[in-house]
């Protein structure tokens, strides 16, 4: 297969924090002959929009992206070039389950690559690698036509899953899937999922159902209620209707004892704090969201008195990504998405902030 690689491309770039992304019409494409060993150039087909991209745009977090920076970290595309001197297999990196070749369809995630050698990587905790490279943050990302990635880190996309369907599994799916692995739940346990109608939430509902959990979906409005229930949630609570009675309502809905666990991807602290009140004793709160501002408030009477576990879970490893993708391939998890164009990125961010997006937005690049 031959592909002509152009010298310029369209890309959305963070230039100044809190300012709109600049849509560059002729941004240079990385030179394929200048790719280092282990690098590859990927032509992006679809890119998901994640709330973290908004945090990156605004420089919300302590550690900020290096600027200027092409945003985006959830993409599917085809490898069009591989760095000269790349060795896959014997003695080199990669080449385990399959050597990455030009023409392969691959997924890009938050982690562009990790060192695979440090204590964190050796233990499978790639998310904590201190030498990680992050797409859309410390290296360019998927809001572009062509992006540099790493052959030993991209996730293979099986032929039976189309690109738009696979895209949100790479960050949203991965994140909730790995979080659920840590929620100490057994089949038949109750799990509360605040934000069940959102990008991560609606995937969490499906993974939880696949794991045999009974899902209490929490969100607001009829479209999200319909989505959550159609995906297998057993019960639904509208937090706006419950108001101050939310905690009482959650406990009542889960056998009068509270759910065994809660997985929360919300962008505000309140749902996390509420969870500590409604969780069953010895229950687990898995926090995967990254709200800026207020911290988690865990009164000792709750934490110790109820013997709760609070677990922070960040994205996931290559193995988690492959497992998360496998569930999607087998049809157990389907992303609900709408497709938009790269140029609409700012209006998508505005809708995200207003909470009006159901499911995921996937950009067709």
């Amino acid at each position: 297969m031959t592909t002509t690689i152009p010298s310029t491309q369209r890309a959305a770039q963070i230039h100044t924090f809190t300012h709109p992304l600049t849509i560059l019409p002729s941004h240079p494409v990385p030179n394929p002959s200048a790719l280092a060993p282990n690098e590859c150039l990927v032509k992006i087909e679809c890119a998901g929009v994640c709330q973290s991209d908004l945090h990156a745009r605004n420089g919300d977090w302590g550690q900020k992206p290096t600027l200027p920076r092409i945003g985006g970290h959830e993409g599917v595309g085809r490898v069009v070039a591989i760095g000269e001197g790349t060795v896959q297999g014997e003695g080199g990196d990669g080449g385990g389950d399959g050597v990455v070749e030009v023409g392969d369809r691959v997924g890009l995630k938050w982690l562009a690559r990790t060192c695979l050698r440090c204590e964190f990587c050796r233990k499978g905790n790639e998310s904590s690698c201190k030498r990680q490279k992050v797409h859309g943050y410390t290296v360019d990302g998927t809001f572009a036509e062509y992006v540099v990635a790493w052959v030993d880190y991209v996730t293979p996309i099986p032929d039976t899953l189309d690109s738009a369907a696979a895209t949100a599994i790479l960050c949203a799916g991965l994140t909730v899937y790995k979080g659920l692995k840590h929620c100490n739940a057994r089949a038949g346990d109750w799990i509360a999922i605040p934000g069940a109608g959102g990008g991560l939430g609606h995937l969490a509902v499906q993974y939880a159902v696949t794991m045999g959990l009974r899902v209490l979906a929490i969100d607001t409005g009829a479209p999200k209620r319909e989505l959550a229930l159609s995906l297998g949630a057993e019960k639904w609570i509208d937090f706006k209707e419950s108001g101050d009675n939310l905690i009482k309502d959650v406990i009542a809905a889960t056998d009068g004892l509270g759910p065994h666990s809660a997985i929360i991807a919300a962008g505000a602290a309140l749902p996390y704090n509420q969870a500590l009140w409604y969780l069953r004793s010895t229950g687990t709160l898995v926090a995967v969201g990254l709200p800026g501002g207020k911290p988690l408030e865990a009164p000792f009477g709750l934490l110790v008195g109820k013997e709760l576990k609070i677990i922070g879970s960040a994205i996931g490893s290559r193995q988690d990504a492959i497992e998360a993708m496998d569930h999607a391939v087998r049809g157990k998890v389907k992303c609900h998405y709408t497709t938009r164009k790269l140029e609409e990125i700012e209006s998508i961010f505005a809708e995200m902030s207003a909470g009006t997006i159901t499911g995921r937005v996937i950009l067709e690049i």
Partner: protein, 357 residues
């Protein structure tokens, strides 16, 4: 720093399973320019001798060893060369590193991603399907050689790389908790005497099982709380159970070369206990009463060497002085005699070959 790498070296070569070991003085050394990306050349200082090397030499396992073969997989030395175009080498020339059984794994398959590097389908095994450390120089892999902590001298580090690592990992995955009893058949041997120390470091109570006054002394000095001489005991299962609160140990780490050591463990283990099967006898079968395995909620786990993280942890414990190898130094040219002593069960602790002799 640059090293003068010779073209030939002294190496112990086995050309077939019924041929004697040849100590050759003209065995070729791979030149730096011939090293593939990811490969490194290590100049060896010490190497331990493991019973597995004997199995490799005799080719008596269900999986075949290569021939001709340079055996050995407990080597310590310095990196003298690294292949060109090696991306992101975590080690550099001059570093002191260990070569263990698992010389290489791909780090990209399901097993490797899950940390079970030793079960990588593309694994290369030192002194088995690639040449090993019974030589002055060995080719190994930058991403898998294990850095040796500065405070641990090379002769002391060598046998941690296989014997120490293997028993450490078995204990790590045994579910044994602080205060639990662990039975160690073969406690006076190469692996056993290290198992006593790692178990003690982990807060376990050790019942050492072996034979003879010399091994009894060694085991007790190393921290075993109780001792059973299997040759002097008529009913081993009863004796073990009595020694462990009358209920049996919570765990047994079995490195034996015959099936009986394992079957007995299923009988003497406390309910809910775990048998960690560590030995690698080629033909033996583990026979366990299905009824009692189920009725007593016994777990039987196979534990095979360890991954990079296990190796680093095992060495750190040794570097802090909590696991000391009892070894006797010999020379590479003594290897034949070492194998004979091993076959006769005469080796207490470990034999380490000092490459400078």
């Amino acid at each position: 720093m640059s090293y003068n790498i010779p073209k030939t070296q002294i190496a112990a070569v086995v050309t077939s399973s019924d041929a004697p070991i040849e100590i050759r003085a003209d065995h070729p050394v791979k030149a730096q320019v011939d090293l593939a990306p990811g490969e490194c050349l290590v100049k060896l200082v010490s190497t331990g001798v493991c019973h597995t090397d004997l199995h490799a030499r005799n080719n008596d396992w269900p999986i075949p060893a290569k021939t001709p073969l340079v055996g050995g997989h407990e080597g310590v030395g310095h990196i003298v060369a690294i292949g060109d175009n090696t991306p992101d080498s975590p080690v550099k020339i001059g570093d002191r590193v260990g070569i263990k059984w698992l010389a290489y794994s791909c780090l990209d398959c399901e097993q490797c991603r899950n940390g079970l590097e030793q079960n990588c389908p593309k694994a290369k095994l030192s002194g088995f399907n690639v040449d090993g450390t019974f030589a002055q120089y060995a080719v190994s892999y930058v991403h898998h050689v294990t850095p040796i902590p500065d405070s641990l001298e090379s002769n002391a580090a060598a046998s941690i790389l296989c014997a120490g690592l293997t028993v450490y990992r078995a204990l790590k995955y045994s579910d044994a908790k602080i205060g639990n009893w662990v039975a160690l058949p073969g406690a006076g041997g190469g692996l056993g005497h290290l198992a006593i120390q790692y178990a003690t470091a982990m807060g376990l109570r050790v019942l050492a099982i072996d034979t003879g006054a010399e091994k009894k002394k060694l085991c007790t000095e190393l921290g075993a709380e109780k001792w059973i001489d299997f040759k002097e005991t008529k009913d081993i299962v009863k004796a073990v159970q009595e020694a462990c609160d009358g209920l049996g140990p919570h765990c047994a780490i079995v490195t034996a070369a015959s099936g009986s050591g394992y079957s007995q463990a299923v009988d003497y283990l406390r309910s809910g206990g775990t048998l960690m099967a560590v030995g690698l006898p080629g033909d033996a079968k583990l026979e366990a009463s299905i009824f009692f395995t189920v009725f007593k909620s016994i777990t039987i786990k196979g534990s095979y060497v360890g991954n990079r993280q296990d190796a680093i942890e095992a060495l750190e414990i040794a570097a802090r002085g909590q696991a000391k190898v009892h070894y006797e130094l010999q020379a590479l040219s003594d290897l034949k005699g070492v194998y004979e002593a091993m076959e006769e069960g005469k080796v207490a602790g470990r034999i380490v070959l000092d490459m400078s002799k």
